[in-house]
């Protein structure tokens, strides 16, 4: 793995500072809308950063990560609903609106669900892997749609945003800072994972799994661990996304969401540390500004995406930092 180029480091720092500075300034100028927009970018970036572990490092094209995004969201929504109605939650335990607990539940749930999904899906490869991850996500999507206890098709509102000790989460800026901290932590984890022995094995398995087996590492195990970690990070993002919108619905689980997460990564630059962040910025800003100009912004999004895939491989960061990654 070659060292990250100077231009990419500068680009990364600029992106990180911009994402922090704009909402701070917007909040100071009394423009909470832009704080919310930045929060949306941050959370989508976090979700994509999770997928980037499986997709960018491991080369595992999961077309079903919306499942974990949605499960994280439902964890937040369901716990908030139980706490709101003062009903016991699970095994007679009281529910809570405390974010740290909710996040833990979301992360553990996603890990537990990702383990069997990964174990079955990783037996296949190529198109079959893409399709079986999609099938698992659809399974959960249809379940959420047809199970009426938590809103079914109509979704589940969260009446009051969940709480974090010492932070007023009802205000846009503190909530943004929480999300931003979570994103930085996730990126730190991605970075240390990429440079660890585990990361080396994972990337080697992407490049040549036969050689990895030959040196005594089982690619299946490495990939399964990466898949589960990836799902957990995306699940955390889902819990935050539900709290941002104060609403969770099956659309968080839909295959469009899975597609969007992949789109974010590829727009930004696949396998790059800040690829998901750059991609999420580009995506949300396109959605906001094109959406302001024309109702048909998805048409232009489609054309831009087509252009990136066909002509600008390496995404936004690839264009700034140059040199496509190897592998």
């Amino acid at each position: 793995m070659k060292a990250t180029g100077a231009r990419e480091i500068i680009a990364n720092a600029t992106i990180a500072l911009l994402l922090l500075a704009v909402p701070l300034a917007a909040s100071a100028m009394g423009e909470p809308f832009y704080v919310t927009l930045a929060t949306r970018i941050t959370i989508l970036a976090l979700a994509a950063a999770g997928l980037n572990i499986a997709l960018g490092l491991g080369g595992l094209v999961s077309f079903g990560h919306a499942a974990f995004f949605g499960l994280g969201g439902y964890a937040a929504g369901i716990m908030a609903a139980h706490a709101f109605n003062a009903e016991p939650f699970f095994l007679g335990l009281d529910s809570t609106t405390s974010m740290p607990v909710i996040w833990l539940v979301a992360i553990v749930t996603c890990g537990l669900v990702a383990l069997p999904i990964g174990a079955i899906s990783l037996r296949t490869s190529g198109v079959y892997f893409i399709m079986i991850t999609l099938a698992f996500a659809q399974m959960i999507y249809y379940f959420a749609n047809s199970w009426p206890a938590y809103g079914g098709q109509d979704g589940l509102p969260i009446f009051i945003r969940n709480t974090f000790p010492g932070v007023n989460t009802a205000q846009p800026l503190p909530f943004f800072l929480l999300c931003y901290a979570a994103l930085l932590l996730a990126l730190l984890m991605f970075w240390s994972l990429r440079n660890s022995r585990f990361g080396a094995a994972l990337q080697a398995a992407r490049q040549n799994s036969v050689r990895v087996s030959a040196v005594g590492i089982a690619p299946f195990n490495v990939r399964l661990v990466a898949f589960v970690i990836s799902a957990m990070v995306t699940g955390l993002a889902g819990a935050l996304f539900a709290d941002l919108n104060r609403f969770v619905s099956p659309s968080m689980l839909s295959w469009h969401m899975s597609g969007e997460l992949i789109v974010l990564i590829v727009l930004g630059g696949i396998g790059r540390l800040f690829g998901p962040v750059a991609g999420a910025m580009l995506f949300v800003l396109l959605e906001h500004f094109l959406g302001g100009v024309t109702e048909r912004w998805q048409l232009f999004l489609g054309l831009i995406l087509l252009g990136v895939v066909l002509f600008a491989r390496g995404g936004l960061l690839g264009m700034i930092a140059g040199k496509a990654r190897h592998g």
């Binding site: 079955i120 893409i130 249809y142 047809s146 992949i262 048409l299 087509l306």
Partner: protein, 306 residues
Amino acid sequence: MSLALLIEQLLNGLQLGVMLFLMAAGLTLIFGVMGLINLAHGSLYMVGAFACAIVAAATGSFWIGLAASLVAAAAAGAIVEVTVIRRLYDRDHLDQVLATFALILVFSEGTRWVFGSFPLYLDIPPLLQGAVPLPGGGQYQLYRLAIIGVGIAVAIGLYLLISRTRLGMRIRAGESDREMIAALGVDIKTLYTVVFALGAALAGLAGALVGALQSVQVGMGEPVLILAFVVIVIGGIGSIKGALFGAILVGVVDTMGRVLLPQALSLMLPPSQAGLVGGALASMLIYIVMALILAFRPSGLFGAQS
């Protein structure tokens, strides 16, 4: 449950399966020959349905509309192949997924732009209106029987095309060794365009046929697309026989599951809960079947074990 209801639901499942086969056959052919995974296949289905609805409304004839749907979908397929898809054959599956995902956005928003968000309606042609009596009492829509007939005819036609004609021979040769067939002087680029247009025409036919049963609207292709993917994954990607088998399996299992599961569960659970659990389980059933099949046969039922 009465025999008539059982037969009716079996026929419904068969009709769904046959429709899925029309979609899956094109998908699996395109994957088998060009190695391309085409998410935009559902958009071609939508193009067929819109073409049929518009031409049928303008001319007053469903049959002209049906012919228009074949032409429109094949033409749309050929244009997309020449402008975009052709550049994707040498790319990895991720690029193919993304580019064709982008095509869905373009097709859907473009169609909405031109035709608006309101659904169009397509009437069943007078010749096929009415119903046929079923054994054990009850009646069945003639039009749905006709769809089953079309599907069977297409399956036989495809079999003959691929096993008996020169084009079919080239398609089979393209599947096994594309460099060799190019070296032998076959224009592989044109062959790819023809195969893609053929798959698109089948999708357009399916869209037009189903358009008369449901409303014709933007996004109608997406649920069908995902089911068609389930079909080809179960059947083994690249295998037309697998697509036929998988399509019938998915159609029948999905339809019968929705009828039988709530009833079966009501033997064990109170009725209200049985409906709930049965309904939820039934909507997941084909995905469960697919996961089970892939867990034991990772490249599908008829897939090459490589």
